[in-house]
Symmetry: C2
Subunit: 213 residues, 2 copies
């Protein structure tokens, strides 16, 4: 069984630019990636954890695969290469910005007997997808990819399961999302935000983040 | 085992007023309540499903309990009454605005052996809480209630579990949330929004809702 995390280093997490400088965003994105990669490695579910990235990064216990293309092209080429090399093992594609993911989440997803397990993010996104036979599936991210992935599975006659998880649905894209890392995170991403001076603010019943001046 | 759903009918879901009239908001809030109550009843986990409400409503297979007070006061009085009547059975407190909740979610929560199971919503909220011994706990909603409930459990020496669910974390409060009902909902709330002319919009990769003119 394999796992692959797509990762774009350049101008990472641009929607957080109201709160974080470019350097801080890079650092935070890398801390989230390390949380996700670390969880995959700790789960001991995978023979290989690949990071599909546009530029070299240094992370322990994973395999770096350079890819110049867009997300869909890079991932579909990755799936195709697995098929053409007759690597017919299941693969988990998982996003780099879901630092709350737990080892138990990974064990539960990969224990599924379904052909495809889709893990929704908010707004119709797909934050992880487990594909039992990589030659039988192609990905189509952006927009309501959750619905597109359900349709692709159905169109290919595959048994598809939806995996219900707050941890995995919580992709960290915008300022509002940071509070979830501070409240629920126990890993590098939470420590990164705290070291940058972020804390939880709770004024008039509206919970958000504040930053030390 | 009991379940209780707090529900406020008057001026329900005011944060949806940019998209829905007061009458429509009332109708939508009631459709979500019916989804949650229906799921609790279908789960067959409870001897009684109570709705703790400020005004009379007509819902099948549940028990209506009128309460004038605020959320915390009403729920803590409910827990205290259970204790004083020596009804020492476990109770699930669950919010009325999480229509994606499934029968399996309810079975999984109530199967827990922990003293308290806390189900987080976004922004530090608590969307459901399962209390094995009602006399041992009091609730403290608003703000980062998830953290407060964890602290209350810890302070009372209770074993506390966090239940990880996208379905249950998805409380429908704001315009942005409606798309989750349209994408993932299969019940009355989704049908209500569709009957009011709402559909999914997917422009430039940003998924939201649109309404027929």
């Amino acid at each position: 069984m394999r796992a692959v995390i797509p990762f774009k280093k350049s101008n990472a997490k641009s929607r957080l630019s109201s709160l974080l400088s470019e350097k801080e965003r890079g650092e935070f994105a890398l801390s989230m990636l390390r949380d996700v990669a670390g969880t995959l490695v700790s789960s001991e579910c995978f023979s290989v954890v690949d990071i599909l990235t546009t530029s070299l990064i240094d992370i322990e216990n994973v395999n770096i695969v350079l890819a110049e293309k867009g997300l869909n092209e890079a991932l579909n080429e990755y799936l195709m290469k697995m098929s053409s090399h007759s690597i017919n093992e299941p693969v988990l594609i998982i996003m780099a910005d879901i630092p709350l993911v737990s080892v138990n989440n990974i064990k539960d997803i990969t224990a599924s007997q379904s052909d495809v397990v889709i893990v929704p993010g908010r707004f119709g996104g797909t934050n992880a997808i487990f594909i039992r036979n990589p030659s039988s599936f192609r990905v189509d991210y952006y927009g309501a990819s959750f619905l597109k992935h359900c349709d692709i599975a159905k169109g290919n006659g595959l048994v598809c399961e939806v995996f219900d998880s707050f941890n995995l649905s919580t992709d960290i894209d915008e300022a509002d999302d940071l509070v979830e890392v501070l409240i629920h995170g126990r890993g590098r991403a939470a420590r990164c935000l705290k070291s940058l001076g972020f804390g939880i603010s709770d004024t008039k019943g509206r919970v958000g983040v504040k930053r030390d001046e």
